[in-house]
Symmetry: C2
């Protein structure tokens, strides 16, 4: 049995990346009214990277989603000496400081990969894992997956992991484009997260259960030439095939000269009998980070019964 | 009967827009070798907006594809006083100056819309229209369309229209992403254009024929709020439905409040009995230009027999 505290308010973040349009447009819609509400707590939609949103770019100076580090948040440097995103991270951290643990953050993201609905959570946070299950059950099979990030990320650099929260990542959607199907998926997931919080806050008990999720195992880069430019691309067999199992002989990349590259060619880490799962395949923002796709493993987690501590 | 001059060289342009990756990667591939060749003429691949390619953005200061104006090209201003793209337009115009009419330009573009392969050409240029037909016939039905731009555009501001040429636009592909299916379509179209030029240069006669094409009739913007931000989106019925006929009652936009907007609501120009065709639906770069999609009409053009003048 795990007991949860009552959630007093929920921050819904759009535009952590300025060109991920469904979060930007949902938050704007709720700010312009009618507002997004819950029965048992406050809900505050918030636009994060305002300058990047104006530019319709991921970021202005650096990726806001990597700036919530201890070093940045406690930096002795004056605002004028900091990049826009570090300043913004400090502002947001002050505004949303959460000492009582009664705040919950929902961070809205898009990807160009065919992820469908991907809920990114801390693998040790049973409250949020129960929320994921609640959201997942409202969608048809294979629409909603759960990506569980380990302890290393909890002490990480994204707002959602500094506070308690969930990242709702939806794709495929090009940067700077808003698709009706994608915004609908995201809005439904946000409303389900609030529904879950309301139920919890009212004392509804969530039974012990098992949930399937994915854990990140490895990143694979594009082949590169001596200038660092890509020398190949995602193989046509892998394009749009996020979450579909790969084996060692699966073709994953194709060189510009036409040669196929198998999974075996890019990693020794995958056993002969093992299945691995690709995710974030051909995400636009990952080209500069040296990531063509991630490999994930499947995992199954047993959740304890969850009930409000009252 | 129309006679054509022998084409002496072909310039293949990639990266007119720096984040349209299939042109950038094809041109880089051909520059790094093995080279792109034709039997009867020189072929010169060329990267246009080098700074924008580095940034992986459409442009640095302004859209290069709109800078080949008389005013810019003949400006008395010194280079230091001009934006990067105007300077680049001048450089390119000098480098590719074509007084003999024996040069042909192939300009490679991508769109986030589900255009498939769209050949954009001058509607008065029978040589290039014959080339379009040659390319189109090598693809299955509904893969390759021809967009015929009128005389106003010939005296326009894109390199391809200042010189004789063709724009090969392929989608859907997010900005900053390279998809194998899209680059393959584009490469095949480029090779077919060279094949056609070789045949013409060798004296092959192309018979008089009819071809179907589209002409641009009208642009439709997103609904906007008082800040100029979008207040709605492409309707789910229209998303990815480029080139599929619309009637006056077709739902084309959806407001954030859920209200549907029909074609009749956004234009009075479409007759009751008339079919119009949407194109460039949800193209990322058009948000800032105030274009949610274009409407096109279908047209049928009779081409005269084409033969080399020798």
């Amino acid at each position: 049995m795990e007991t949860s505290v009552k959630i007093e308010d929920v921050i819904v973040l759009g535009g952590t990346h300025g060109d991920e349009m469904s979060g930007v447009c949902l938050v704007r819609k709720w700010l312009n009214g009618p507002p997004l509400t819950a029965e048992t707590c406050e809900v505050n939609p918030y636009l994060c990277n305002v300058e990047a949103i104006k530019l319709c770019r991921r970021y202005k100076d650096c990726d806001l989603n990597r700036q919530f580090t201890e070093e940045n948040l406690k930096s002795a440097l004056a605002d004028g000496e900091l990049s826009y995103e570090v300043k913004r991270a400090r502002e947001m951290n002050e505004k949303f400081a959460d000492t009582s643990g009664t705040r919950f953050v929902v961070d809205l993201h898009n990807t160009t990969s065919n992820s469908q609905l991907c809920l990114i959570v801390d693998d040790l946070d049973n409250f949020t894992l129960h929320m994921c299950r609640y959201i997942q059950q409202a969608f048809p099979k294979d629409v909603c997956r759960i990506l569980m990030l380990g302890g290393g990320v909890i002490n990480g650099d994204t707002l959602c992991m500094v506070k308690r929260g969930i990242t709702i990542e939806v794709g495929p959607q090009p940067q700077g484009v808003l698709r009706a199907d994608i915004i609908d998926l995201q809005e439904k997931a946000v409303k389900l997260s609030l529904e879950f919080i309301d139920k919890c806050n009212k004392g509804v008990c969530f039974d012990s259960c098992q949930i399937d999720g994915y854990t990140r195992s490895k990143k694979v880069d594009f082949p590169r030439d001596s200038h660092g430019d890509i020398a190949g691309m995602i193989h046509q067999n892998l394009q749009d095939q996020d979450w579909k199992p790969l084996t060692r002989s699966s073709k994953v990349l194709r060189m510009f000269n036409g040669d196929d590259v198998t999974l075996r060619d890019v990693t020794d880490d995958v056993g002969v009998e093992e299945s691995v799962y690709p995710m974030f395949v051909n995400e636009a923002a990952y080209y500069e980070k040296g990531i063509a796709f991630y490999l994930a493993n499947k995992t199954c987690v047993t959740l304890p019964t969850l009930k409000l501590n009252n």
